[in-house]
Amino acid sequence: MQFGVFTIGDVTQDPTTGRTVSEAQRVQSMIAIAVKAEEVGLDVFATGEHHNPPFVAPANPPILLGNIAARTTRLHLSTATTLITTNDPVRLAEDYAYLQHLSGGRADLMLGRGNTGPVYPWFGKDIRKGIPLAVENYHLLRRLWREQSVDWEGEFRTALHGFTVSPGPLDGVPPFVWHGSIRSPEVAEQAAFYGDGFFHNNIFWNKEHTEAMVRLYRRRFEHYGHGAAEQAIVGLGGQVFMADTEAEAKRIFRPYFDNAPVYGHGPSLESFTRDTPLTVGTPEQVIERTLGFADYAGDYQRQLFLVDHAGMPLPAVLEQIEILGTQVVPVLRREFEARRPEHVPSDPPTHASLVAQGPDSPHLKVISATAGLETAAQEVTR
């Protein structure tokens, strides 16, 4: 199973000191976080994509991930999320393939639609077409990575004739793709149709909601013939802050919580802890809560923690990553494997595992569903 951190690169004032880091400092801190994650034995670093303050997550994640690739050797590099709606799929195909070459096969990506409405018009898109954009753009991305010469005509992008993406995917094997969505069933359906991974942010909403979305994805993954529902590739987010005692953790974290972007100045730390997976306490409490995720989402393959937002200073963030790597994740690895049935994969697909599947791998097909398609076709004509 893979464990890691994900960041949205928010530049937020530290509410305890009134200090706000510069954009330059925040950009450098994201590199330090990734390097630290590898140093303490975590598996994944994932960055968001943003186009507006207060975020300095890259507008194009491969820029940051390419830098991190040069400073690490083992860490998997991913996104949370790459905007499939407003980016040109041709540029995504080129840039992430390039990143895969640079990183020696350590890159994958997670697609999302974004959370800031004006990004659509800024890039000449219509927010009301969010789902159709995600569907069409991703299908083109799949074809670009799988077909030598692409002829394409769609609704959203200028046509292509005889186009070959350059560089092509490393070893001819496209990166593994996750699809992230908090509440759109169409995105869970999309991930299931292609046999891709499904990631639920699992931070802002209650666990019953996460459970329903993951269950939908698993059921449709099986429907399309990619394997049993429990074998579908699931990733979850989580948010933690740890100290030696629960009281100390709450004392330190509370001002950051109370002033955080999105939910600050809203619910209390206590009610948010009760209603969402947020855990503020000892490493043991984080272990217990995180193991509980599998009770509602099933045995899963990737866990990403958010530890660096709301103005938390870098030294404190690095300390949290240290605790994760030394005290939390080793136990989680052992306990998650102990409960995982033999036929459920531990790791999500990696470049190495996909290469090992050989030339007949379903991953190399644009559409690899082996079941459920006739039903779908009938529903079209009805």
Partner: protein, 239 residues
Amino acid sequence: MRSTPRSSPPLRSSDTSRGPHARRVVVLSAGLSQPSSTRLLADQLAGAVDAEISARGEAVAIQTYELREFAVDLATMMATAGMPTARLDELRRVVAAADGLIVVTPVFAASYSGVFKMFCDALDPHALDGMPVLIAATAGTPRHALVLDHAMRPLFSHLHAVVMPTGVFAATEDFGGGAAGRQLSSRVARAAAELATQVVSGGVSVAGFTPPAPTRDAGVGIPAEVTPFSVLLGGHTGS
């Protein structure tokens, strides 16, 4: 409706209906004080609707909710980019599943109260499609009477509800005796009769000539059935 409890019934309470096919009418009262004249009007309307539906030979189950009790849940939802609470989800389910609504708000600053609007903001855009709704309001003076037609009626039209022609406005003085009180009673009776007719007929459509009743969406959870991906994909293929 003397026996109506002063606080909202438990959300997961067993159905108080009088039979398997009882019509379900939900009353939303947005008063903040206790006792509240808004609740007083809500109870009068509920009692009149109960009598009118019963007079048409149909069973009815009426459940009354005080929106004040959901104020914290609503604030949480608004302050977390939409995270629903379990109680609020349950109320949204109950409302979308009703056969008719009675909504009553006090007038605050020349319009419906904030908590009343917060609840409407928390509804799915399709939660009230085709829903028969009786609008009512209370205020300290009769000079606020236009709140019904300048604030509430456009709001529920926006939500695709079927708003009864008669709205009921009660100023404090209308709860007294004399002509004002008698006129309130007659407005209550007329509005209740309109809602009862809609609730019993099952909506606006005439059987055989119109599309089936609208499917409302409580906006709670995720749908059980998804659009198959091939439909979303719209004919794109690949090798």
